[in-house]
Symmetry: C2
Subunit: 204 residues, 2 copies
């Protein structure tokens, strides 16, 4: 084999490697925009192996269904750190994961978890661990981490108004340089909001 | 040159290329977390070439300063699409860019731009184009795009409470697969919120 041939092979291999890495980069990132309409049905997404529901509502493709389906890919852990959690569809997905044995942890804002539509009570009744801030500022993050490796983060609160009404976004990434700081932030807040550290003179 | 030597060179070059692309990936993404304390001073960031201000407040490194400094790297365009804009420091940076000849466009929420602390009035007085929604739902995005290529997106509204009080995040990315959908979303909303399309029977 001659030198020019090897240099040619080198160039081809480098180009292939570059394309492979670019594709990996693309697969590791997608963006979801909201609002979506009409209202979706999460039942077939949550019930593995069953056919579509006959309700006539959207069941896939739309951003809300993709978000729900992404959450349902969790095999080991789901860490939710969201300001407002009142969407029944997304809460249903979280409860399904909990019943499947996925370790679910939820961090939310103390003021907003007291709202009538909040799903935090349902989580706690099901045995899901929920922790929250205890000060006058907001726990305003809106992110979730699937299996410690997929980050869903953006402006979207987990509420029907956000999903079906507002202009919102969720970035979905698997890039460790973005995901890992959020894993650390979650652990830091989980520790900060440990109920054993609470001061029982609420400021809110 | 022998074949084994060339194959060795091929392996080394592939490894170097991989490391280079990984470093590029890392450089293209960073995450900022809030709150920060104490209050920052944006003056030296906004005034190129001058020394530090003597106020004693934080002037660099902290997430808020980094966010402000990132905005100030804009050479041609700054597209702001943020729900609440009341931070004087960030508004100051936007006004500085406008005065430097950068084309600044702002999209915000119609309800929140009417709040007393809103900086939208200052933007308009300076001649910056501002557009907003005209319905009962929220324009809830919190992103900005620098020169069409750097995206700053997360939970952070541009308010003092968000910067100095709340738990918040901003992802900074240059990855086209993430940035480009936001460029399209901005153009779509800019077009949707064209004042010539307004219906003059406000629902809010």
């Amino acid at each position: 084999m001659r030198v020019p041939a090897l240099l040619g092979a080198l160039a081809v291999l480098s180009a292939l490697l570059y394309r492979l890495l670019r594709r990996r980069e693309r697969e590791r990132a997608q963006v979801l925009f909201f609002p979506v309409e009409p209202v979706m049905c999460a039942r077939p997404l949550c019930a593995r192996g069953r056919g579509p529901c006959e309700c006539g509502l959207w069941q896939r493709e739309r951003a809300a269904c993709r978000l729900c389906a992404l959450l349902l890919t969790a095999q080991r852990t789901l860490d939710v750190c969201v300001f407002t959690i009142s969407s029944r569809e997304l809460a249903h997905a979280v409860l399904v994961l909990h019943r499947r044995g996925v370790r679910v942890r939820v961090i939310t804002d103390s003021g907003h978890m007291a709202l009538a539509a909040s799903q935090v009570g349902n989580f706690r009744r099901a045995g899901i661990e929920v922790r929250h801030d205890q000060d006058t500022n907001y726990m305003h993050h809106k992110f979730a981490i699937v299996d410690g490796s997929i980050l869903l983060n953006g402006s979207l609160n987990w509420s029907s108004q956000a999903i079906y009404g507002n202009k919102e976004n969720v970035i979905v990434v698997k890039l460790p340089d973005i995901v890992n700081p959020f894993v650390e932030e979650f652990e830091s807040l989980w520790n900060e909001y440990d109920p054993s550290k609470f001061i029982f003179s609420p400021q809110k």
